[in-house]
């Protein structure tokens, strides 16, 4: 029993179950999934659960990269939202050129994605260099891109807002004809499978944790901490590019100041919710990914009860604080001591009798 409680994955799963239970008690229609037809005439599933797996996809993808960065460098990347804006803007620029309302795409979508991916990875590498070589704290180093990112994104497209009318581009953030499950979910699952294989068949996970736990001793054991830290930021860059493709595809357009706003906060929360220490070291990838879906479940639940989107953060904050307090070691120790005291008191009474 206590083994279950001590398992890291327990926290996000418990949180998820708690949220589901809440919804089940208040309004069971939360779980209803219906088959409908979208504007293009394709069969699609709709329902709150589908919304969660649809909108939670980007978050889950980002959580993968963020977990690695957190584990290796003991800090977080706060520039992912801005980086998504840059990558998305680049993709649109490649697809549209200077014409903001193209009838046909200039290049295949795949090429645009590769270019966007390279740009995002380059910015990730920039962050990585600041963190690993110049030894600047990750949060501060990424503050640079956080400040400049959206400006750079606007600058790439000359502050114009291209709109893509080709329906094929919308598949990545919507539905592929004939498949009723939203595409982002498949993309997210693909990323999860890739990272699972990478962690299983390479030493990436081991090295990352080693660097996060003790940098000097991992260097003495022949690991290059500078490279590992840099690598995690580049991987996060790749995750950002995938998330950006989904985000841009959803709208077939971009809004530089709004796209992926505050997503960095959600991604960090997903990592924290997964029970991973934000100060680096050991990590549990599955817990982080479930954490991402917990955050999305919370958001969707709040939207369901007509909480205005601006007021959403207040409720989120309360839940987050509650979760973080419950998972804090100090708090747990205090509780277990308290429980022991009560039990101890009882057994003493018994002894007296």
């Amino acid at each position: 029993m206590s083994k279950i409680f001590k398992n890291q994955i327990f926290i996000p799963v418990a949180a998820l179950l708690l949220l589901m239970l809440f919804n089940l008690v208040i309004d069971p229609s939360f779980f209803k999934i219906s088959m409908g037809v979208n504007s293009a005439g394709n069969p699609v599933l709709s329902g709150y659960l589908i919304t969660i797996i649809n909108n939670g996809s980007e978050l889950a993808i980002l959580a993968i990269g963020m977990t690695l960065v957190t584990a290796a460098s003991g800090g977080q990347d706060i520039s992912v939202g801005a980086a998504i804006a840059i990558a998305g803007s680049t993709m649109l620029r490649v697809l549209c050129g200077t014409n903001t309302r193209p009838d046909t795409l200039r290049t295949p979508i795949f090429v645009a994605f590769i270019v966007g991916c390279l740009v995002a990875m380059a910015f990730g590498a920039f962050n990585g260099v600041l963190v690993s070589i110049f030894k600047i704290q990750p949060m501060v180093a990424t503050l640079i891109l956080y400040t400049a990112g959206r400006s750079i994104a606007a600058w790439i497209n000359n502050n114009e807002l291209p709109i893509i009318s080709d329906p094929k581009f919308g598949y990545y953030g919507g539905f592929i004809p004939g498949i009723p499950i939203p595409t982002p979910f498949f993309i997210a699952m693909g990323c999860v499978v890739i990272i699972a294989l990478v962690l299983k068949f390479t030493n990436l996970g081991l090295y990352t944790q080693a660097v996060g736990i003790n940098e000097s001793s991992s260097r003495l054991n022949g690991i290059n901490p500078v490279f590992i830290k840099w690598l995690t930021f580049v991987i996060l860059g790749a995750c950002v590019a995938v998330a950006a493709l989904i985000k841009v595809s959803r709208l077939s357009s971009i809004n530089y100041s709004v796209i992926a706003k505050d997503i960095e906060m959600d991604a960090i929360l997903a990592v924290a919710l997964g029970g991973n220490a934000l100060s680096g070291g050991k990590f549990n990838m599955a817990a982080s990914i479930i954490g991402a879906f917990v955050i999305q479940t919370l958001t969707t639940t709040l939207f369901k009860y007509n909480v205005p989107s601006d007021a959403l953060p207040a409720y989120k904050a309360i839940v987050v604080i509650a979760l973080v307090v419950f998972s804090a070691p100090t708090f747990r120790d205090a509780v277990s001591k308290f429980v022991k005291n009560i039990k101890g008191g009882k057994s003493k009474e018994v002894a007296h009798v």
Binding site: L130, F134, I152, V320
Partner: protein, 343 residues
């Protein structure tokens, strides 16, 4: 030559970084005067920088305190917005008076400090996560208090807002040959008083020195008999209290309540502190440096604006570039110094 390098070695980290910041600020301002023309020669241009950034100065002071202690507080922007909105609603809808609204601002700040300080210091939760939730909460609460932005029409408040303090001898003659007095707003006076108070606190009081000790090395601080938890707690209380005061000064400057107020102020405050030579690892920093950090940040904004690069993105990019340069310079200087000491 060896004398110079000796001096370099003797300098404390704090003074070294402070010197860099102050020198860069003056070079930048002189550069602005030379290349941008006479606008920057007018004292009023400088005072306007102070007027618009009085709140940021106060917020950055609080931020520096927390950063010196080894923490961070990203809720200050949210608190500013919350304070503005609460005070605006109280003054306009409830017909309240100005003194009570100031009390509200301070109480909001204090409440924030107590909760965040407790979570960070006594429950050992990372300050980043706590203040992240704090920021979310403040932004959300601002919307819940009132969604629509509006200007405050309360007469006494407007009178206070319009109060100008004339700086003697700094006025200029305008194009019509009329003498125009240079002025600052009340907020600037408040900000300067706080800068001086915090400087004294950090330099000459036991509490201030223990901030440095805790930020520099927690373990050693504990062995010196410093109550680490209490010190951290107090640093967060002070920071949030200053955020409350800064929020009111911001409110006094803009005279309205809106959800979007002080968007990104926390990042500007962190950036100013870093430019001012405070290090996020803790134990290094100076309030005077922070003050110059804010000035540098806003001077570069002014330069960008007056250079005709008024597209919004240039501001973001230049600030980021500046932040980048400062961070790299700091990192290189500190690494060199460490090597010099080892030799």
């Amino acid at each position: 030559m060896s004398k110079i390098s000796n001096k370099f070695k003797d300098m404390t980290d704090t003074n070294l970084l402070l010197t860099i910041t102050v020198v860069v600020f003056f070079l930048m301002y002189i550069g602005a005067i030379v290349f941008q023309g006479k606008g920057f020669l007018k004292p009023q241009t400088f005072f306007n920088i102070l007027n618009t950034n009085a709140a940021l100065i106060i917020l950055s002071c609080g931020m520096s305190l927390v950063m010196i202690t080894g923490g961070i507080d990203i809720s200050v922007g949210g608190v500013t917005a919350l304070v503005s909105m609460c005070c605006a609603v109280y003054l306009d809808f409830k017909g309240g008076n100005v003194a009570v609204s100031m009390l509200i601002a301070i109480l909001i700040g204090l409440a924030y400090g107590v909760v965040q300080g407790f979570l960070v210091a006594y429950l050992d939760i990372q300050p980043f996560i706590v203040s992240l939730a704090g920021m979310f909460f403040a932004r959300g609460m601002t919307t819940i208090v009132n969604t629509n932005p509006f200007n405050v029409a309360n007469e006494k408040f407007v009178a206070l807002k319009e109060t100008r303090i004339i700086v003697p001898g700094m006025g200029t003659v305008n194009k019509l040959g009329k003498y125009v007095d240079a002025y600052v707003e009340i907020g600037v006076i408040v900000a300067l008083i706080i800068v001086i108070l915090m400087f004294c606190l950090l330099r000459w009081t036991k509490l201030g020195r223990s901030f440095y000790a805790v930020g520099g090395n927690k373990q050693s601080a504990l062995m010196l008999g410093i109550n680490v938890k209490k010190t951290k707690f107090l640093s967060h209380i002070l920071c949030s209290l200053l955020a409350g005061i800064g929020g009111y000064v911001y409110f006094l400057h803009v005279g309205s309540g809106a959800v979007t107020h002080a968007q990104g102020a926390e990042m500007n405050a962190i950036a100013s502190s870093i430019i001012g030579g405070t290090m996020l690892t803790g134990g290094v920093g100076n309030i005077i440096g922070t003050f110059f950090g804010v000035l540098s940040l806003s001077t570069i904004q002014n330069i960008v604006a007056s250079a005709g690069l008024d597209q919004a993105w240039w501001t973001g990019i230049t600030i980021a570039a500046m932040l980048c340069i400062f961070l790299v310079v700091q990192s290189v200087v500190m690494a060199r110094k460490k090597r010099a000491i080892k030799k």
